[in-house]
């Protein structure tokens, strides 16, 4: 019994180790068969392309750690993008102010999720399914679907398209936020609370942890980060439109779960999530460089996800099956 947690701990560790190996394997594989894969430029692109989804995945990690989920981040990215655009173009606000307003809006939207989930004790899946449609719908309603915000000043586009000290300009921001989340989850009492809530919401409450506030915090953070992602996204594309970030929530969840975070909450890590994001991003770029159709990337991601999950439980299941078989045999003998 004492070994129980140890093995589970190893599992987590092993999971991330396996993921790392998978990542390296992908890299070597595509380096071998792909044309000019893994060059410096290509690596920069991979980093650049994974920033938005990476940000969403980072924000999703604490949420899933507390046993929740947020389907609305992709839609919120879209909403914030067009809010940002509208405030800048029609509101004639300077870029930084517009950005701040967009972030505030993101926080507000996250707050809506948080309020419904913690105050009314509604299941996150449903609440965010609702806001998933709502946010996207608002984005389309505001722009009538067709209004596109563009011609942003180069000083702003720099953030999304240029390099700074040889690395993509958005990378430092991404890294900073990644570090923030790593510290939050692994080095502060907040992260501790998230896990406690994820493992045993009641238990956390009996330990005097303000469960409600902690959970709310994760969703508000997700809102803020979605807004930041929206701004980077706008800078990268040079346009803001109501369809921005379609389907990103699923990529983010995939990355988090692939990174070894349990969908039931409690166990998981931010570096795992980062590995998950990297594994997907490398796969997507590698497939193109290997001149394979990009559908392959999706298929392989799905397969990878199932394998990752199965690998964690398969040994247990097999042993339990064995036990049952032997038991049945015994029963037969007795009967």
């Amino acid at each position: 019994m004492n070994t129980d947690k140890r093995t589970r701990k190893d599992n987590l560790f092993r999971h991330e180790a396996i993921l790392l190996i998978v990542l390296v394997a992908e890299w070597i594989f595509f380096r071998a068969i792909g044309r000019n894969f893994g060059t410096y430029d290509n690596s920069c692109d991979i980093l650049r392309h994974s920033c938005e989804i990476g940000l969403l995945a980072l924000a999703m990690t604490p949420i899933i750690l507390t046993g929740g989920i947020d389907l609305s981040v992709g839609s919120l990215l879209g909403l914030c993008a067009i809010l940002f655009g509208k405030l800048w173009r029609d509101g004639h606000l300077p870029i930084p102010i517009a950005a701040l307003c967009a972030i505030a809006a993101g926080a507000l939207a996250g707050g809506l999720n948080a309020a419904l989930i913690t105050r009314l004790r509604l299941p996150p899946l449903i609440v965010t399914l609702g806001t998933f449609s709502l946010f996207r719908g608002l984005a389309e309603a505001i722009t009538h679907g067709l209004d596109t915000f563009t011609n942003f000043p180069n000083s702003f586009l720099f953030l999304g398209q240029e390099r700074w000290l040889g690395i993509p300009a958005q990378a430092p921001l991404f890294i900073a936020i990644a570090i923030f989340f790593w510290l939050l989850v692994h080095r502060t009492t907040f992260g501790r609370s998230f896990r406690a809530i994820g493992f045993a919401p009641e238990g956390a409450r009996f330990a005097g942890i303000p469960a409600g506030r902690r959970v709310a915090m994760t969703y508000v953070l997700a809102g803020i980060v979605s807004a930041i992602a929206a701004i980077i996204y706008t800078a990268r594309l040079g346009q803001a439109k109501a369809d921005a970030g379609n389907g990103y929530e699923l990529f983010a969840i995939t990355a988090v779960v692939l990174g070894g975070t349990s969908i039931f909450g409690g166990t998981g890590s931010v570096h795992g999530t980062l590995l998950g994001v990297a594994a997907i991003a490398v796969l997507q770029s590698g497939i193109v460089h290997a001149l394979q159709p990009s559908e392959m990337a999706g298929m392989l991601t799905g397969a990878l996800l199932i394998l990752a999950l199965a690998s964690s439980v398969l040994p247990k299941t097999i042993s339990s099956l064995r036990a049952r078989k032997s038991a049945l045999k015994l029963a037969k003998q007795n009967a």
Binding site: F37, A244, A290
Partner: protein, 339 residues
């Protein structure tokens, strides 16, 4: 290594098609990385994967590529996220293709990536839907948005004696080219057909079924609707089916932009009066020839004409290589085409 991949693929293929023996033809060419000096790599970017329109473009493109001995890469976004096109282009840049031919989902969005490609010395042309002019050298112009918009509107007017109500089925509210076409449809209407009234614009999310249900709703909402105009290829058969089911065949006209093969039944059934399109295979063919010529330096800005293999010579207006006027498929001619 390739074995491993292909075996994975076969596995998936088996899973998906348990039973039925439709053989799977992979669009992607073999990944042999030997790249001789003459042999060029030309990348063809559709607006989206899994879209019959671009598949037929690809057929023509492949034909041209084999004639020229070039390597053709055909890939595009599988989702609805506009950033995907940029990512693929940027991957192609590092991949080191010689020329990129793009059909742009988002003018502004994609242009940022295309500029980058040009900066890296990659020849960039656009086809089907143009980018910002500084994003590419040439636009293989199968028909200007204006041309399309006007042709559609003229057809519509002609079919309903230039008065009465009509409605539009679009791909999605956010698709850029659709919006542009609508703009010109409106413009033409205002100029020439003031008696025609546009009553509604409905998105069908590029799904035939949704186009069908939306049209059904339109038909019962606007009893004296005279014509439905579907400007995305899944929309046309969808709208036609709805009209047919409403038993309004012939009374309510259906026209739109679509592929002959998807619409033959309805055109013959008299449900759809006209399908407007150009020869998509020629479009792909011409595009690849142009890209190849540019990469070899045989085609430079300022040229006024250009010879594309078996299709002969095409006129170049400014930086537009003109494929010719959009083509109107009707009962009489539709069977001559297979794409």
């Amino acid at each position: 290594m390739k074995k491993l991949l292909s075996s994975l693929v076969l596995l998936a293929a088996f899973a998906v098609f348990s039973g039925c023996n439709k053989s799977a033809e992979s669009p992607a060419p073999g990944a042999d990385s030997s790249k001789s000096a003459k042999k060029l790599t030309i990348a063809l970017l559709p607006k989206s994967k899994g879209n019959a329109y671009f598949i037929s473009c690809q057929k023509g493109a492949q034909k041209a590529a084999t004639e020229l001995g070039d390597e053709l890469i055909f890939d595009g976004p599988t989702g609805t996220d506009p950033a995907k096109q940029n990512e693929i282009v940027e991957n192609w840049i590092t991949l080191g293709v010689d020329a990129i031919a793009a059909a742009c989902e988002n003018k502004e969005g994609i242009s940022t990536a295309l500029r980058k490609a040009q900066a890296k010395g990659i020849k960039v042309i656009t086809y089907d839907a143009d980018a910002l002019t500084d994003g590419r050298t040439f636009f293989v112009n199968q028909a200007t948005p204006q041309g399309i918009g006007y042709t559609l509107m003229d057809q519509a007017a002609q079919l309903c004696a230039s008065n009465g109500e009509f409605a539009i089925i679009t791909a999605s509210l956010t698709a850029a080219n659709q919006q542009e076409w609508q703009k010109y449809i409106q413009e033409d209407r205002d100029k020439n057909y003031p008696d025609m009234k546009l009553v509604a614009v409905k998105p069908c999310d590029d799904l035939k079924d949704k186009a069908q249900s939306e049209t059904t709703a339109l038909l019962s909402t606007y009893p004296n609707l005279k014509l439905v105009m579907a400007i995305c290829s899944p929309g046309v058969p969808g709208a036609a089916e709805a009209v047919k089911q409403a038993g309004k065949t012939g009374q309510i006209k259906v026209i739109g932009l679509g592929l002959p093969n998807e619409n033959k039944i309805y055109v013959h059934g008299g449900v759809t009066q006209a399908v407007i399109l150009w020869n998509t295979m020629d479009l792909g063919y011409l595009t690849v020839y142009a890209a190849d010529a540019m990469a070899h330096g045989n085609l430079k800005p300022g040229d006024t004409s250009f010879k594309a293999g078996s299709l002969g010579t095409f006129e170049i207006k400014g930086d537009n290589i003109l494929l010719g006027k959009p083509f109107v498929f009707t009962k009489d001619n539709i069977d001559q085409f297979d794409f």
